[in-house]
Each structure stands twice: as C-alpha cells, then as structure tokens.
C-alpha cells in the first residue's frame, strides 16, 4: 500500500516538474476576441501600452481596442454578442462571468460602434457607457456614437434603455428611433431620419466583405449601360 502511494506521488512529482503548476495563478477573465481586423487596429491589454492587433487575439476585462482611419474591428463577446468598431473609434471592454452568468460593458471613449447584442438571460446585462450616457441593452441591434457634446443611439431592433448620467433621466429607445443625450443633461428621442437609419445599418454591417459585380449591357439603340451589383460575402 505504501508503494502504491509512493508510486502515485512520484508520478505527480514528475508531472509537476515537467509542467510546474501555478496553484495560485489567477487568470485574467477573458470577455471575447477580435474576430476581424481591417487595416489600422490597435489593442491594449489592461495596464499595458498599445500594440498592433491581430485577428484572433482574445480580449480580457479592461482591455482597449482602437481603430484608425478607414479601419474596422469586429469584437465577438463570449456570449456571441457582436460589436463593430467603426473608424477612429476607441473602446474599453469589461466583463465578469461566474456560474454561466456573463455581465459585460463597453466604455466608449470616441467614435462609433454598431452592435448586435444576443438576447440576454434574466440576470445578464450588456451596457454601453460614455462620459455622458449609459445604454442598457438586452437583445437588440443598432449604432452608438459619441462626440464631444452629444451621444447618439439609433436602434434598429427592439428596445434600449438610454440614460443621461448627469441628470439620471432615462428613456426607452425603440426600433426606428434615435436617442440623443447631451453633456448638459438633456436627453431626447425622435424618429430616426433616413440618414440615421442608414448609418445604423451600415454600422451593423461594417467589416463584411463587400464585393461588386459590374456588367455592361447594350440596349436596342446600340447604347451601353452599366449594371452594378453590390453584394456581401
């Protein structure tokens, strides 16, 4: 019996020597990954400096992502929520998960994002925060953009609760509406203009591979016309 115990401890010692375990290692909580990187995208680990981002890099809680001119980044959270970072945007992602409950937040520092948030469980939450506003999302799509004085939230599907931090006033922004939150504490809602709707839909689809097919057609009079097909693949 003693030999048996001795044998198993030897095996454990050998295993531990080959790959010494760090019993007290506390791994940083991962919240998602960069599933697509187009042109100039940078990633900053929590507490470290900015570095060029790579497709497939995981994002931990407190990490930042930044896009340059004409650049896009797509972030996938581990509950399959999708975030599309438009050009000249900067965000910090945070999140905690325990026992299957994943709570996450995106702090907008500049620029705009398109979002497609999966339906959240009863005790889960997705939040967009900025210096001016907080938007609580439970399963919607839309666009959130910030500037020096105003935050704009356009919702394409379902409803988002939008709150101004200064006055704590909040509104529910439904599909087809745009909420505007000002630094001075004002918050209002209006029906989305066609331009706002288009911007929101483009923000949700930014980063998909766009392709174009051009065909030259000849009419009966001998003239030619171009047929242009834009499609995504």
């Amino acid at each position: 019996m003693k030999h048996f115990f001795l044998g198993m401890f030897c095996a454990a010692t050998i295993g531990g020597w080959c790959s010494p375990p760090d019993l007290f290692a506390q791994t940083q909580q991962t919240v998602g990954l960069l599933s697509k990187v187009i042109l100039d995208v940078s990633h900053r680990e929590n507490g470290k400096s900015w570095a060029k981002a790579q497709r497939g890099e995981t994002l931990g809680s407190g990490d930042g992502v930044m896009t340059g001119d004409r650049s896009t980044a797509i972030i996938k959270f581990k509950d399959n929520t999708l975030l599309r970072l438009r050009e000249r945007s900067r965000v910090t992602v945070t999140g905690t998960s325990a026992s299957g409950v994943f709570t996450k937040a995106v702090n907008m520092e500049s620029g705009a994002i398109g979002f497609d948030v999966k339906k959240q469980e009863a005790n889960e939450e997705f939040r967009f925060t900025s210096p001016t506003s907080v938007a609580s999302v439970r399963g919607t799509g839309g666009r959130f953009a910030i500037s020096d004085s105003t935050d704009t939230l356009t919702v394409v599907e379902h409803v988002v609760n939008f709150m101004n931090k200064r006055t704590s006033r909040s509104l529910n922004v439904g599909a087809g509406f745009t909420g505007t939150s000002h630094r001075n504490g004002q918050i209002e809602i209006h029906a989305s203009t066609p331009a706002e709707k288009r911007a929101a839909e483009e923000a949700m689809k930014a980063g998909d591979l766009q392709k174009q097919l051009r065909m030259q057609l000849r009419n009966r009079k001998g003239g030619t016309q171009d047929l242009i097909l834009d499609f995504k693949e």
């Binding site: 095996a11 454990a12 295993g15 909580q29 026992s99």
Partner: protein, 802 residues
C-alpha cells in the same frame, strides 16, 4: 454427532442467506442524475460505500403510467454501479425507482427503506423519482463564436473560436477537444480562460473548397464524454473530390488511465482496495477501436468476476467486441446480462446478423462442511432447517455449501431491414450450466428461447408499431440427463411414443426429463409477447401496449422479467399552451393467473394523471400528479387468499431559478401515499415525504447546496392492521469552492439524519488538476452511527488522459 466449529459458522451463514431482510440501505451515497431529458437513453450512476461486500446492484424502475417495475442490473466497478436506462423508459413527468443491493450472503438492502421482506417481488411504497423534463429546451453549453454556422468563409479568413462560459463545474474546460474535419487540433489551439481559439492558417492547415465541420467535445471530471457540438461552414470555390493523400487520414485517439487506492473501516474491520482502469478510443477514417480494462484487488476466485476486459473494433457495417459486453437483443430474450466472450454485429441494411457467445457465470465451487451419521439427520435438520443436505452413502450424510456452475450463453439474431422504416428479426438463445465445472453443486439448469420481433415506422416516424414474441423451454435440473426409453416406458406408458418423439426433437438443444418446462403445449405457459403502437399527432404522444407473459416463461438472458401477467397499458402526453403545459395520462389493466393455476385471478388496475407547467417568462415551474393502484382478486375479503388493496398517491413538485445577490435554484417536493388493505392481512401503509432544497452559485467560484427532507411512515408490523411509526428527518449542507479555476477545488458535506433513523455523514474532498491531463481526487467520508460502530472510508484517485 460431530459438528465442527467451522460447520456451525457456515450453517449460521446459510441461515442468514435464507432469511433475507430488508433494511434501510446505508450504503447508497448518491444516485445521479436527478433529472433527464425524454426520449434518449441516460446513464444511471449509483455511488456506494462498503461496496466490497456487495455482489449485485439492481435498479428497479417503472415509467410513468405503468405499474410493472423493470429491472436494470447495474455494472458494479469499484464503488460505483452504472447502467443505461433505455429511451422508452423516460416518459415525462418522472420515472419512479428504487435500488436493491444484494451482498455475498444473499441479504438484501433497499434504498429507500421498504417494509417488504423481498423488495424485488414486492416493491416498496416509498420510492425515488427521476424527473423527466418536458419543458423548454436547454441552452447549449458550447457557444460557437466563429465561424458562424453555415457561413461561407475564405480559407485565409477561417478563425475557429468557441466559448465555454456556460459550462458548469462538472465540465473540465482544459480537457475540451476541438476537431476540424475529424482532425484533432486541440494541441494547436489557444485556451484563454473559457475561450478557445484556433487559426488554421497559422498552423499550415489548408482548407480546400467545400463543406467543413468544427466539432467541440466536452469531458467531465471523470474523463467521460459530457457532450459534443458541431457546426458546418463552407469554403467557397469549386469543391473537388478529395483523394486520400498520405498523411491526410490520421489516427486520432483519446485514452485515460485511472488508479485508485481506498480504505474502508466498517465496524472494527478495515480493508484496503486497489483498482486501476484504462480506457481507449481510437478513430482512423471510418474505423473505430475501443478498449476498456479494469482490474481490482476485489477479484477473487470465489466471487463472480470483478475485473473487466473489453476490446472492440467497429466499421459502419460491422462491429466485433471481445471481452465483457452487454449484448443488445429484444428485451424478452437478452437484455442487461454481462457476457464474457464475443459480441458482434453485421449491418448490411437489407440483412443483419447479431451474435453473442460467452459465459455469464463463472464456476465457483462449493464445499462439504461436515459429515454425520444418518441417525443424526433429523436433529440436524431441526437445528438448521435452511442448510443443504445430501446423502454420501447409506450410513452417512453431509452438509454442503453449494457452489455456482459456470454458465455459457449463445444468442443469434438475423434480421431484415435496417430499422429506419421497418425491420423483422428472428432470435435464438441457448444457455446452460456446465455440470463438470464444479464438484459441489446442485440443480444445474438449461434454457432455450426462440423469438421473433418487428418494427414499422410510418409517416416520418409519427406512427410506430412494434412487437415481439418468444417461446422458452427451461429445465431446472439436468443432472439426471435426458429420458431413456426404458424410463419413459415405465413412467409414461400411455404417452410413451409421443414423449419419445418430443425427446428426439428437443434433445439436441436441451435436456429432456421430468424437470423440463413446458409440460404441455396446450397452454402457452412458457410464451411471452408484447405489441405496441405509438402515435405522434396534434401535439399528442400516444402509446398503447399489450403484453403477455406466461407463468413459466424463462430466459437466462433476461432474469428479472415479471411473469404470469397479461394486459394492456395506455399512455398519452399532450402539449398545450405553446409547450408550456403538459398533461400526462396513463391507464393500465393487468391480470395474473395466465395458466389458471391460482385460486383466483388478480386484476391490477392503475390510473396515473400528471400536469406539468413550465411558464415563460420564468416563474416557478410546477408538476402535480395523482396515482391510484387497485389490486383485487374478487375473493371475499375475509378469506385468507383474498387480495384487495388500494393505494392512492398525490405529489407536487416545483422548482424556481432566481437571482438575489447570486444565482439560486430552489426546489420543493411533497408526496403522500396511503395503502388500504382490505384483506385479512391488513398491511396498511401511510407515507408522507417532503423536501426543500436550495442550490446557489455565487459570483466568486463557490457553490452551495442546502436541503431538508422529512419522511413520515406508518409501516405494517406483520400483525393484521398493526403499524409502527418510522419517521426521520435528513438535513444536508454542501459547499464546493474553486480557489484556482480548473486547477483546484475543495468540497465538504455534512448530512445528519435524526428521528427513528439516526446517522451523521461527513464528507471532505479535494480535486487537483496538476496539469491538464493529470488529476488527483481525494475523498474522505465519516459515518457517525447510533447503536452500531462508526464507519469511514478514504480514497485517493489518480487520473491521466492522453
């Protein structure tokens, strides 16, 4: 008269063996799972303590709407007994079960406690329930982040990433395997917390145009598969026929080694046990190879085999296995019996063949305990009425402990049709004891069974018709051999020719003598059959079953079938309110005395009704049910042979998930049953059981479970109408803390029971994953008893997966 001390102790042992007793089982530690989805087989695991003295573990269960208990013989390996419940047993809302343990002396223990001296023949009133969930589908454990299912992705853009954040503590994330087109890419994947990332282009893996699959396999803390998920995606371009290239087909495998040392202190005796096991699964193209080896220090020549050996290979059209297997034949013929030998199947679709051959029992010789003069025989029989005696010579008798003959079994089943829409099969089983395998044995037996079965599926599986029939011949003592002509002429002069003809036909297959059944073909006493029709229309799952089992039906491949019964059973399950409300109705009418050999025929009439409500959005779900079991043989209630009893049972169960600082799951159960016996025996039983439990998962890696269960029983004492109280309360507190995720977990449980049953259980455990494939599991349990010595056991298990 000469009696030796060993004889006395041996005789006492025999007496105990004959007088079975049913007690509260203190040896069942845990039964999992507590719930299961309908329509799919589920593996039952019973954890035991003091398992070394347990010879057999039986799981007796009855699906909703039925009254007959079916028996599942669990495979006992070490201190864990497992078995596979068939899919047709899992009918919502729940399945009732109880467990019977038989030790080497023949004593029976039940879990939960029963008032019956023979719980196999007479099921207890108080049973456990396995919930069969019929609510909304569960959230999948694996979240595919990339690629999207069915996406079209350029080969250089393929990024495989999955999230395991929904998995709970039963899943070991670091053991997860990722496969792309059946190629295991786990070693090239990056594990970051609960996200796994694999980029094919970074490893030089090329993805040709066409369809590809990503498969994620999960494993639990025992290294057993715990589920898998797959998605497909497409690489654009013209798909070319893929020719096998050198190295493209790879042999993939996973294997695990387990070693355990364990000490059990029972009473004043302590004993060490050592066990080791090796499991292997390999794939090469369509070929699968499986191996399972288990060795234990409990393997003894005087016990049935405790070691297990198996190696098998499988292609889509053929399967061959050597070693210990559980052949799957029609349930009337061969089911749940371990065969050590060969088990193979040929599947060609239009024709198939299943064959099993090997031994089901090992020879264990008996012993002659003592000899004494013939004039002491009557005194010995008075002193030890349950012992076995045999004459040695005209002046001397002996007392014996009879052994077990080795028993072989051969089963063959050719069938026609693949079973996807129809199949017809014929089965043959022959089994018998080898008289020459032991010296001290009694009543060697033989058995043959001939059967037929069919299944037909119509309208996209919405209509299913199945049936099976079997005819058996059984000889319960072949020691005198087959009839001779002289014996037939002297004992059966009137039917001598007929009996000789039957003997000549059957003797190549079975020994023909006075102990053969059937004695006559005019009554189908050794026949059995079942016919079932299942319909699935308009949110109704309807099933009708007719069954017949003659009183002498016997198959060595199906040893726990209830015989001498016939009747029908109807079950209907209705989905209402967009699958939020389920109504289950069951009615059954059975009768015994199929051969008119009893004083009267008993009719068993059973009614079962249950409603399950799973509301959306989440508020507590609830199931309520009512059952009525009526047994009546029509005789006047003042006659000794009268059977007239009614059992009414109601139950309510509810569970609720809510968030209050942490994630909680609360469960409440209450059930009450009352048996009124109008016969002269007045075996009335009252039982009330209620339990309340709450499980909590905190944001820190801590899980706790608390529960309280109250059992109130009025049980018969044996005197007509007299009952005795047996009430007890059990508390349970359990905590599991993971200070280092996926590396170290510690757990503790305390469970006191008080009242008419007093005991306190303490459990401590720790699990350490030294490296992803290597782990240690330490367990210590202490049982503080009242009136009997305390007990404890400690075990250390090592596991390595590769």
């Amino acid at each position: 008269m000469i009696f030796l001390r060993p004889v006395v102790s041996g005789i006492l042992l025999l007496c105990l063996a004959a007088a079975v007793s049913a007690q509260v089982s203190t040896r069942v530690v845990r039964v999992t799972p507590a719930e299961a989805p309908p329509g799919a087989p589920v593996r039952i695991t019973v954890e035991l303590q003091q398992a070394a003295s347990i010879e057999r573990v039986l799981f007796l269960y009855r699906p909703f709407g039925t009254s007959l208990y079916r028996t599942l013989v669990l495979e006992l390996l070490g201190n864990r007994a497992t078995g596979l419940l068939p899919a047709d047993a899992l009918i919502p809302p729940a399945l009732e079960y109880y467990i019977v343990l038989r030790d080497r002396s023949g004593s029976l223990e039940t879990y939960p406690q029963t008032e019956s001296a023979n719980p196999i023949a007479t099921p207890p009133q108080n049973t456990r329930r396995l919930q069969v969930m019929s609510g909304p589908a569960r959230t999948p454990l694996v979240v595919f982040l990339s690629p999207e299912p069915s996406a079209i992705v350029a080969p250089e853009d393929v990024l495989v990433s999955v999230s395991l954040y929904r998995t709970d503590s039963t899943i070991v994330r670091r053991s997860t395997k990722v496969l792309v087109d059946q190629t295991d890419v786990t070693t090239s994947a990056v594990f970051s917390d609960d996200i796994i990332v694999f980029i094919p282009s970074n490893t030089g893996m090329t993805l040709s145009p066409g369809k590809h699959t990503v498969t994620v396999k999960l494993f639990d803390r025992n290294g057993s598969p715990a589920g898998s998920s797959s998605i497909f995606f497409t690489v654009p371009g013209e798909a070319r026929p893929r020719l096998p290239e050198s190295g493209e087909r790879r042999f993939t495998y996973d294997a695990s080694f387990m070693a355990e040392t364990r000490h059990e202190e029972v009473g004043s005796a302590g004993e060490w046990y050592n066990r080791a096991g090796l499991q292997f699964r390999g794939n090469y193209g369509d070929l699968r190879v499986t191996s399972n080896l288990f060795a234990t220090s409990e393997e003894k020549s005087y016990r049935q085999p405790q070691n297990r050996y198996y190696i098998g290979g499988e292609l889509p059209w053929i399967k061959v296995g050597l070693g210990d297997t559980y052949p799957d034949f029609p349930s009337l013929i061969l089911s749940g019996v371990r065969v050590r030998g060969i088990n193979s199947s040929l599947r060609l679709g239009y024709i198939n063949v299943d064959v099993a051959y090997g031994s089901t029992l090992r020879a264990v010789d008996g012993a002659e305990l003592a000899r004494f003069p013939i004039d002491s025989l009557s005194r010995a029989q008075q002193l030890y009425p349950y012992a076995s005696y045999a004459q040695i010579n005209p002046t001397t008798w002996g007392i014996y402990d009879y052994g077990t003959y080795s028993r072989s079994l051969f089963a063959l089943r050719p069938s026609f049709g693949s079973g996807e829409t129809w199949q017809f099969g014929l089965s043959w089983l022959s089994s018998g004891d080898d008289m020459g395998s032991i010296r001290y044995g009694i009543r060697p037996q033989e058995n043959i069974v001939l059967g037929a079965d069919f299944i037909a599926k119509l309208d996209d599986d919405r209509v299913q018709i199945n049936g099976q029939a079997a005819f058996s011949a059984y000889n319960n003592d072949i020691s005198s051999g087959t009839f001779t002509d002289a014996y037939i002429d002297s004992v059966y002069p009137n039917d001598a020719l007929k009996i000789k003809n039957v003997r000549d036909i059957l003797s190549p297959f079975i020994t023909v003598n006075d102990n053969l059944r059937p004695l006559s073909l005019s009554k189908p006493a050794t026949a059995a059959g079942e016919l079932g029709v299942a319909l699935n229309y308009f949110d109704n799952a309807f099933r009708f079953t007719y069954l017949y089992r003659g009183n002498d039906y016997n198959s060595f491949g199906q040893t726990f079938l209830r015989t001498d019964i016939k009747g029908f059973n109807v079950v209907d399950r209705v989905r209402l309110l967009q699958s939020q409300l389920f109504a289950n109705l069951g009615f059954e009418r059975l009768q015994d005395n199929t051969a008119n050999t009893k004083v009267a025929t008993t009719t068993f009439t059973n009614l079962n009704v249950a409603l399950s409500y799973y509301p959306i959005p989440k508020i507590p779900n609830v199931t309520i049910g009512y059952s009525r079991y009526n047994n009546d043989n029509g005789l006047l209630t003042d006659t000794l042979s009268a059977i007239n009893d009614v059992t009414n049972r109601v139950y309510l169960q509810s569970s609720y998930d809510f968030e209050a600082g942490a994630r909680h799951t609360a469960m409440f159960t209450i059930s009450a049953s009352k048996r009124e016996d109008s016969s002269p025996r007045r075996l009335n039983v009252d039982n009330v059981m209620t339990s309340l439990g709450i499980g909590t998962r905190y944001r820190i890696p801590l899980q706790t479970d608390f529960s309280v269960a109250l059992n109130l029983n009025d049980l018969p004492t044996g005197a007509p109408g007299a009952t005795r109280r047996f009430n007890y309360t059990t508390l349970m507190a359990h905590a599991r803390y993971t200070p280092v995720r996926d590396i170290l977990s510690v757990m503790a449980t305390i469970s006191p029971s008080f009242g008419d049953f007093e005991r306190t259980t303490f459990d401590l455990g720790a699990e350490w994953f030294v490296t992803p494939p290597m782990s240690f599991l330490f367990q210590f349990s202490y049982f503080k008893n009242v009136g009997v010595p305390n007990e404890d056991f400690v075990s250390l298990r090592y596991r390595y997966a590769f």
